[in-house]
Amino acid sequence: MNTPKRAQRLSRRQFLATSGGLLGTALSLPSLAAVAGGAASRSGQIVAAVSERALTLDPADHYSISTTSMLRHVFDPLIDVTNDSRFVPALAESWEAQNDTTWRFTLRKGVTFHDGSPFNADSVVYTLRRVRDDSRLIKSFVYQDLDAIEPDGEHAVTVTSKRPFGSLPSHLTMLGILPAGAAGKEESFFQKPIGTGPFRLTEWTRGEKAELSANPDYWKPGVPKAEKVIFRFVPEVSTRAAGLRAGEFQVIDRVPPDMVQTLRASPGVRVMSGLGLEVQQWLFQLAKDPDKDLRLRQAISLGIDRDAIIKDLLLGFARPAVCPIPPGLVGHTDLGVKPHDPDRARALLKEAGYRGEPLDFVLMKDLYPKQLEVTQAVQAMLGEIGVVINIKNMEIATAREMRSAGRYDMFYSGWAHLPHDPDWYFGQWFTKSGAARLNRYNNPTVEQLIQEARVPDPKVRQRKYEDLQRILWNAEEPTIWPYYTVAIYGVRSNIRNYQARSDYYVLLSDVSTG
């Protein structure tokens, strides 16, 4: 069930991008592109029902995965990311780090926005300066490190940063490029926004539905495949599933493991899955007794049977973690699955002098599928070794407030490594300032490694992340990372070329309906 991502079939788009890809030679393969082309074959309509409500049309003003999915069809980013986390050209033909704090992007020529205006360096400069300078925008804080953003001729942009910003290309995969003409009249622009993307936005009901129709002038030959794409925002999973089974939806996301059997048994429905970019994390409050005692944390880790949870509760739709960073991302390495050893756990508890003080395990209500059942299983397993767990299933905002205030012993959470880079995660959870309101982690050595891992060179980054994860995984166990989650989708069987994305995106530009 845990389909290794590498084994998934490459799509035509990925194949093209890979062969052309980073070398910027896509244009030198005209014959292949022509074969992939054939705009005449474009037809049909695809309705996707996704789990979050898209509330805004501004690519810089949200961090919602469903909104990212929908807006990716209207706006192109500079860089795309494949399902195995490789960065490939979109509006940037190529990019390079000129030094640790300077990135240079060479832009694609001959691309136009939906209104016919040309895409060029001005568009990129405007988009980047806007997200850096307008602090009302939700994504603004990520771009505060950017310094100078300057055009370099009509089709190149140079960006310098105040400190090394190796994760910039990955962040740019989530930032749709706006036309420079939107400057100063953003409010009216976002009433009817245009991008350079494969689809134009034709209708939009806030939080309910977005209708997109094919952009016949799209710069990538043969894309999109469908004439029309509709995104419906349906948070209730049984409603998404019913619509899929009734044939009203062609694609749904976020299928919980216990619904897979029903969908598989439905005629005309396929289930597709792949290992997600998400790692579950159960935090310890590291400034609090008894959680600050390493032996107690080790004992709790040893008391948890991860395989049983995965097999019995998640029906196999998860994979035991071997390090905090999920497979596919820079820094992933195999540090070994954590063992289940109740005897050793009991011995450690005795050593730590733990005498049955109840530990509060705080959950954010209904956020992760099966989280309550999983926590109850953990409670029972830990009961076996003598640890008393007190489950507190709190409404999300309240739970987060408790975490800020440090009123918890363990906290159930997860982390989807968007945008395909671990820097954000470590920078927030394992630096003194970031962790002060989260898990209270503080280790200058690790913080130093996180800083050093910010350089653009992927080899350096890999080494630094391996070093720091070894400290976390083997020496400190500040958090339990039990497993990586599997992303599950339901798809009608007449849908061709759909990819079960690890980042939970629903991308339909290369998808056709037959």
Binding site: D58, A242, A246, E401, S404
Partner: protein, 306 residues
């Protein structure tokens, strides 16, 4: 009469100010920070503080309320935190779907509930009565959520007669209004039945019958007119409830109404949207109740105000 109406309207205004203060204060003393809910989990504290400032949440509570009140009188309910658009527009965009659903459900409640109750009372202790009451008990005891999903599976997935979710035409109204109306219809049926049974037992009905009035006239003109008053009150209250949104029905059918909107807004601490919906629905409630009270005077000549 007009004095009475004026007094009631004055009370209504006071109620609304009270509601607005209550909503305003409760939202802000509730644990949970809107900026944190808007930003992704790992956003730095500086970003949270900056966003708090942008949203005006750094000001003292009283100042925030006065600013709010001042703009409400200009018809501005503030900018929704999560929709990044005027809260009034976000809410009004969804009001029409809620009104359509309310009307459809009311038609079912009145058109089905009252006749079932009448029939059960007139044919007391006959199979008609028992059948009517079995339907009523079912309607009252099936959970909304389950009923909605069963209707979807039966008529949407298996038979494919009706769409499973969304709102793009009258066919989309059928299943949600059935789900929504099930409980109140049953309630109204039972209320009508018991009211009618009480009235049918009384002397003036016996008089009407003995002076030879036809059965339908006795039942409809004499008995129902007396039994309908509590039913009207309940229907008035139901309209208020329905207009403030039906959370469960809306989420099961992905209905673009205001019930789900407000729950989502509460969870994400979108204060302006919560305030707008609550103040609007309080206003609706107050008005509908006032109208129901005035309707009594039309139905029952003994009731006079002022």
């Amino acid at each position: 009469m007009s004095q009475y109406v004026a007094r009631r309207l004055w009370h209504a205004a006071l109620t609304l100010v009270g509601v607005s203060i209550l909503v305003f204060v409760v939202l802000r003393v509730m644990p949970g920070d809107p900026a944190k809910m808007l930003l992704p989990e790992g956003a730095p504290q500086s970003a949270v503080e900056e966003l708090d400032r942008q949203l005006g949440l750094h000001r003292p509570l009283a100042a925030q309320y006065l600013i709010f009140l001042h703009s409400v009188f200009r018809g501005d309910f503030g900018q929704s935190f999560q929709y990044r658009a005027p809260a009034a527009r976000v809410v009004l965009d969804r009001v029409s779907a809620t009104i359509d659903l309310t009307i459809a459900a009311m038609l079912l409640i009145i058109g089905v509930g009252v006749p079932i109750g009448l029939m059960a009372a007139v044919r007391h202790r006959t199979p008609y009565d028992y059948a009517g009451m079995v339907v009523a008990v079912l309607g009252q005891s099936l959970p909304n959520f389950w009923l909605g999903i069963m209707l979807i599976l039966l008529f949407g997935v298996t038979m494919r007669w009706l769409p499973t979710s969304g709102f793009e035409g009258w066919r989309y109204l059928v299943l949600p209004s059935l789900t929504l109306a099930a409980y109140p219809t049953a309630f109204i049926a039972r209320l009508t039945r018991s009211g009618m049974l009480e009235v049918l037992d009384q002397d003036f009905i016996r008089t009407a019958r003995s002076k030879g009035l036809p059965g339908t006239t006795t039942v409809l003109r004499h008995a129902l007119k007396n039994a309908i008053i509590p039913v009207l009150t309940v229907i008035g209250l139901q309209i208020g409830t329905l207009l403030s949104g039906a959370v469960i029905t809306e989420s099961v059918f992905a209905w673009p109404g205001i019930g789900k909107l407000i729950v989502d807004a509460i969870f994400s601490r979108d204060f302006p949207v919560v305030q707008t919906v609550l103040i609007l629905s309080a206003a609706t409630f107050v008005l509908v109740n006032l109208l129901a009270d005035l309707l009594y005077t039309l139905v029952d000549p003994r009731i006079r105000y002022g």
